[in-house]
Amino acid sequence: MNIPLSWYLILAASLFCIGLYGVLSRRNAIAILLGVELMLNAVNINLVAFWRYLDPAQMGGQVFAIIVFAVAAAEVAVGLALIISVYRSRKSVVADDIDLMKW
């Protein structure tokens, strides 16, 4: 117990920022999806860390993290399916090219 909570939080914040940067800067849709995954996992780290340091008697943090995994897996499945569908019709996975709804 000599590692303080703040370290985990800093790690999670860094990971979140990296994920956010990836989402905002990459043009490839798959890379954006990867960034989203990083952000979700940063949140998971936070959840587990808070659980372990603040209220280990309850299982809420762990359960929440597991639900996030499940949702993330489902989201990736849907996201990849969409990207493949777009790729088939437009021969591209670049987000900028997917501008069907633009004015």
């Binding site: 956010l20 905002l24 709804m101 633009k102 004015w103």
Partner: protein
């Protein structure tokens, strides 16, 4: 029962107008059927009335509240007393007969005309017979159904008037008849003369009606009721007779005078007589029904009704002012119209002036207080004058037939185009002769003798010498022009080819003639004075007993005197024989010595009225009402207002609407939104990352703000 009497003709009117307009046979069936229903009802009422002892005191009456006026209600109702029953009798008979007659007169069953148009009399149709020869025959009236509809409405008005127990519904019926008179005089509205005559009749009678309405209003304000029973109660009459009104009249006398002016208009008395002769422009059944038998009689009927009021301050010696006026107008009209009738050549116009003259007899009789005599003459006159008019219609019809047959264009109404018709139209001749003799007062046999004699006897018996002599001279003239008419039309040789080819009319026309001729003789026997030599007392003087019972004070039976009897026999026979002698040999109007301009032109009354009233009215209408009032003042004000409004509108538009509303609110808002949209559009780049970046920035900004403000 009595309530229902006016209804069938009214229903027939609406049904014909709304439903059966196109079907001519159905329309006249409805019209005649309705008249027959009302006739049947009237006969039942009449017979029941005969069975009641002292019917005058036990009249049939039924009343309902109609208009609530404050505390009390204005009541209307029906009442049949002896006078009402007697009038109902002749009204029902003449109306039914005239309805039937109209079927033939308007040429039912004849083909539609070649060139007939609505609003003009039928001109005849060409038919081809079995031999392939073309004939011109009479054609059916194009507006046949409309005619029966109007007759129905008229009959409704007349029945309403007769059964009314109050002045209000009496006046309603009075005005309905006035309207129908207008509509029917102008029935052939394509003719200018018919249009003018209709307007003239309407306007002239309207003058009288306004005074009558004033009288009714005065009466209502004085007594608070218009019901005959209330007005003629002894106390009310006494109060009215002792209340002074204007110009030395008592209230009763003044109201009586006002109502009498209405009668002057309706019954075509001098000086409002001018409309009746012109009203002959209408179809002949109309002349017979409205302008001889019923509507003009309604005027006399109204005076008969008002008799207790008019004579309320009459003591029996010396006529009151109102009665003197009535007697003067009546006798003056009687002689004045008779002089005109002498010089008229149109068969219907002679009868029209004769009607005016005979109505004058009745009015004069009422003026001298001869109530029963006036009522008697009213009824006998209705019968024989309707008969004469229908007879003249039959003559005209026969002449038209002759004119169409020979292709000769002659006026079928001009007496000098006729002649020798007695052989061509025997039924018409005999009935016309009976009617003419009744009108002349041919002794003993005819109804006209008994009634006219009674008026003369009354005038003689009460010492009204002026009235007596005037009426006797008028009676002489009556007999004279009647014989002139009969001689010219029926005797001698035909003056035109049309007259030579005249033909007897169909049964629908001759049957009414025969029925009315029966009454023109027979009805007189109901009123033979008791003290008459030989005949008196053989048949009781039913009429005097019955109708006299209407009044509270039963009029006494006049003492018999031989002089008025001799006078009336003398003038009748003298006039008849003089007329026969004078016109036996006359062939053309030139040989007629009585065609003097002053009589021919009706004493220039039309011209005088035209000069005195019509032209000034037209001048005032043109110069004052139209040019000054209308164009200058009213239009000026209107134009001023319009200009003001226009100016105000300009101000609003230029200084408020355009700058403020349009540019600031309307266009300003629109432009603002447009510009904002154009600006905001730029951030909608369509790249997801930008949106997320934007939300990130906003999130961070809010977080910082939150932190700074709250922590």
């Amino acid at each position: 029962m009595i309530w229902l009497l006016p209804l069938p003709p009214l229903l027939a009117f609406f049904l014909i107008v709304l439903v059966t307009n196109k079907k001519k046979a159905l329309s006249h069936t409805l019209g005649v059927g309705a008249a027959a229903l009302s006739w049947l009802g009237s006969m039942i009422v009449f017979v029941r009335a005969l069975g009641v002892e002292h019917f005058g005191e036990h009249a049939f009456e039924s009343v309902v509240d109609w208009l609530p006026t404050g505390e009390t209600a204005l009541q209307i109702g029906v009442r049949i007393d002896p006078l009402g029953a007697a009038v109902l009798f002749f009204v029902a008979w003449t109306i039914l007969m005239i309805f039937l007659y109209s079927v033939g007169y308007q040429n039912f069953g004849q083909p539609a005309g070649d060139h007939d148009v609505k609003g003009l009399p039928p001109h005849g149709a060409t038919v081809t017979d079995n031999m392939g020869k073309k004939h011109t025959v009479m054609s059916i009236e194009p507006m046949y159904s409309r005619f029966f509809a109007f007759l129905g409405l008229f009959a409704c008005g007349m029945y309403t008037l007769v059964v009314s127990n109050n002045l209000l519904t009496l006046f309603v019926g009075w005005e309905i008849m006035g309207l129908c008179s207008y509509l029917l005089i102008g029935f052939w509205y394509g003719k200018k003369s018919a249009r003018d005559a209709a307007v003239k009749a309407f306007m002239t009678t309207r003058i009288g009606d306004v005074f009558m309405l004033l009288g009714i209003a005065f009466l209502y304000s004085a007594t608070g009721s218009l019901s005959f029973e209330v007005i003629f109660a002894e106390g009310t009459l006494h109060a009215l007779a002792t209340t002074p009104a204007f110009f030395g009249f008592s209230a009763a006398g003044f109201i009586g005078l006002l109502i009498f002016i209405g009668v002057v208009g309706k019954s075509a008395q001098w000086p409002l007589h001018v409309w009746l002769p012109d009203a002959m422009e209408g179809p002949t059944p109309v002349s017979a029904m409205i302008h001889a038998a019923t509507m003009v009689s309604a005027g006399v009927y109204a005076v008969l009704r008002m008799f207790p009021l008019i004579t309320a301050d009459f003591s029996g010696h010396g006529l009151t002012m109102t009665m003197s006026i009535i007697a003067f107008i009546g006798s003056f009209t009687a002689i004045f119209a008779a002089t005109i009738a002498v010089a008229q050549n149109d068969i219907k116009r002679v009868l029209a002036y004769s009607t005016v003259s005979q109505l004058g007899f009745m009015i004069a009789a009422l003026g001298i207080g001869a109530y029963v005599a006036a009522a008697f003459h009213l009824i006998t006159h209705a019968f024989f004058k309707a008969l004469l008019f229908l007879g003249s219609g039959s003559v005209i019809h026969g002449m038209e037939h002759g004119a169409l047959h020979t292709g000769e264009h002659v006026d079928p109404q001009d007496l000098f185009n006729m002649g020798g018709l007695r052989k061509k139209m025997p039924v018409t001749f005999w009935t016309f002769l009976i009617g003419g003799l009744a009108l002349s007062g041919f002794p003993v046999l005819t109804a006209g003798f008994w009634s006219k004699d009674e008026i003369l006897a009354d005038a003689f018996g009460h010492g009204h010498w002026v009235v007596f002599i005037t009426l006797a001279v008028a009676a002489f003239l009556t007999a004279f022009y009647t014989m002139r008419q009969i001689t010219l039309a029926f005797f001698g040789e035909p003056r035109t080819r049309a007259a030579a080819h005249a033909q007897e009319t169909p049964w629908t026309m001759t049957l009414p003639l025969v029925v009315l001729a029966t009454f023109a003789i027979g009805y007189g026997w109901t009123g033979i004075p008791e003290h008459f030599p030989i005949l008196g007392g053989l048949i009781p003087n039913w009429f005097h007993e019955f109708v006299g019972g209407t009044l509270a004070v039963h009029p006494e039976v006049l003492e018999f005197s031989i002089w008025p009897l001799l006078a009336s026999i003398g003038v009748a026979l003298g006039g008849l024989s003089f007329g026969w002698l004078a016109y036996r040999k006359v062939r053309t109007p030139r040989q007629d010595r009585l065609q003097i301009p002053v009589l021919k032109n009706k004493w220039y009354f039309d011209e005088a009225y035209d000069f005195l009233f019509v032209r000034p009215a037209a001048w005032i209408a043109e110069q004052f009402s139209y040019l000054f009032m209308d164009r200058t003042i009213i239009d000026g004000i209107l134009h001023g207002i319009a200009r003001g409004a226009l100016f105000l509108g300009g101000v609003f538009r230029n200084y408020i609407d355009k700058p403020v509303i349009n540019e600031f609110f309307g266009d300003g808002t629109g432009n603002l939104v447009k510009r904002a949209g154009a600006g905001l559009r730029k951030i909608q780049v369509g790249r997801l990352q930008y949106y997320m970046l934007a939300s990130l920035i906003v999130l961070v900004a809010f977080a910082v703000l939150y932190y700074l403000l709250l922590a």
